[in-house]
Amino acid sequence: MAVDWAELGVGQALPALPENQTAERFQLLIESVKDYAIFILNPDGRVSTWNPGAERIKGYSAQEIIGQHFSVFYPPEVDAAEKCRLELEIAARDGRFEEEGFRIRKDGSRFWANVTITALKDRRGRLVGFAKVTQDLTARRAAEDETRRFRLLVESVKDYAIFILDPAGVVTSWNPGAERIKGYTSTEIIGKHFSTFYPAEAIAEGKCERELEIAIQEGRFEEEGWRLRKDGSQFWANVTITPLRDPADTLLGFAKVTRDLTQRREAEASRQLLAEQSAALAEKARIQEFQERFLAILGHDLRNPLASIDMGIGILRQQSENEDAARILTRMQSSSRRMTRMIEQILDLTRSRLAGGLELDLRSLDLQETLSRIVDEMRSAYPTRPINFFAPSVRILGDQDRLEQVFSNLIGNALAHGDPSTPVTVHARVADDVSVAIHNRGEPIPPDVQAKIFDPFRRGERESRTSKTVGLGLGLYISWEIIRGHCGSIEIDSDAERGTTFRVKLPLEKHLRA
């Protein structure tokens, strides 16, 4: 259908051409436009012209649509008849109506349209119809939506600092995550160079420039490292810098995403520490198990065959009347008992060194009774040797067997090493504590030996392997450990003039109980 554009006044703006010619050209223009649907509605809203743009955007051919009411372009949720009436009313009244909204294509699909309806009046001002121009803005709207959603995303993210740098590295945008992580508000930081976030030594090394350089060359820069907050504190950051380019590949700036991994790093460190600690515990348990097994072997498995040997020797001695055999059996027996004592000493050493110390069964004891029992035993073991003994009756808190072991060791040593022509003295006295001095005359103990006399496996010159004493060099060490377990001490004093004195000091029971 042809339109009388001249009748509508179109072309008045182009006075250089005769009116009919102008209208003709205008018709041509409309026919060639493909990006806009341009058509005319008659005053009651029926389509009366249709251009190729309209056909492309709405899908109808001219034949299909001319004569139909323009309400067919509206989606079903809209009261199309009422809306169309209103739009035309506004256009008629104000000369123009414009909106953006969804419209429907012939195939039922939706598109986002910019719609302009212009009232067409003749020279006398009578309404002759409406020009309707519709633009399909679906793609633009999608892009706008995308941008809006993206901005919303960036602005709602609190766990990541997301911001933009210009090509020189100056901050141009700032999100709440950046404010939370780095401590700056957007007004404080926008316009500042991003080196603000780096420790001084990193800036001096040219780290900032290098990072942007790498991002430009490789399309991306990523690292983990220390960064600074506004308050000067450091945090462990994961940083990504991505260059931003326009379609013509011009560098617009950089997107920088920073995560605070301090907590993760600390969690990793504590996890590692925990793993190390549990490995150490497992190792400790393994060592303890080994120690227990070792103690069981010493204490049980080695003693059983010795018990058999002892028993066998005892039986044979009963049966044998041959003197040579009896002498041999005596030597076998003394060796077997020596072996037994050495096992006891190794057990004590192991307990004191490895298994958490010697176990003591502390009870209230009378010192005099304990000492006199040992002195009596020593007197019968050394019948030719005088022992001068004096001890007051006083209560101490001690392990009977262990204290007997200590005094037996010290008095035995004095008898074994002292001058046989002089007596050994065992003299106890009570003051703030209990002190038991065991003294012998004879060759003194050299100072260098004295210094190490309580060390395990020490063997002074006086104690060679041929010595009468039991030969592991553990006796004094174990005695010292036992007395230490009683909160006491052992001191040594030895020179040629005064002889040798071992002095055992033990706390009084009343002091320990107080």
Partner: protein, 122 residues
Amino acid sequence: MITTASTHTVLIVEDEEDLRELMRHALQMRGYRVVTAAEGTEALRKIDDIGPPCVVLLDLLMPGMNGWDFFEKLRQRPELASVPVIVHSSAAARAPQGVTRVLQKPLAFETLVSVVGEYCSN
């Protein structure tokens, strides 16, 4: 089942065979009747066969029923509750409460004979 106490039967409960046989030999030499067992279950069976002994010489660390469990079972039986039990062990310090006597291994022949002599007649 014999329940009368024997005045000269000694029960040795000991897993170490050499020691067990030497102890048997030592006590038999002195005229005692000796019954042996390598662990607690066997010892309880022997008691069922022979009746209560005059004394039990008891090792503690044994495979099978150990000395602690054996002692508990023995004391639960009224007819055996008064049988003297002498612990003879390398773990003497851990002997159960209520045993008659505790002897640390190794034990000399003379000690064995004199201790048994206190409870039994040969």
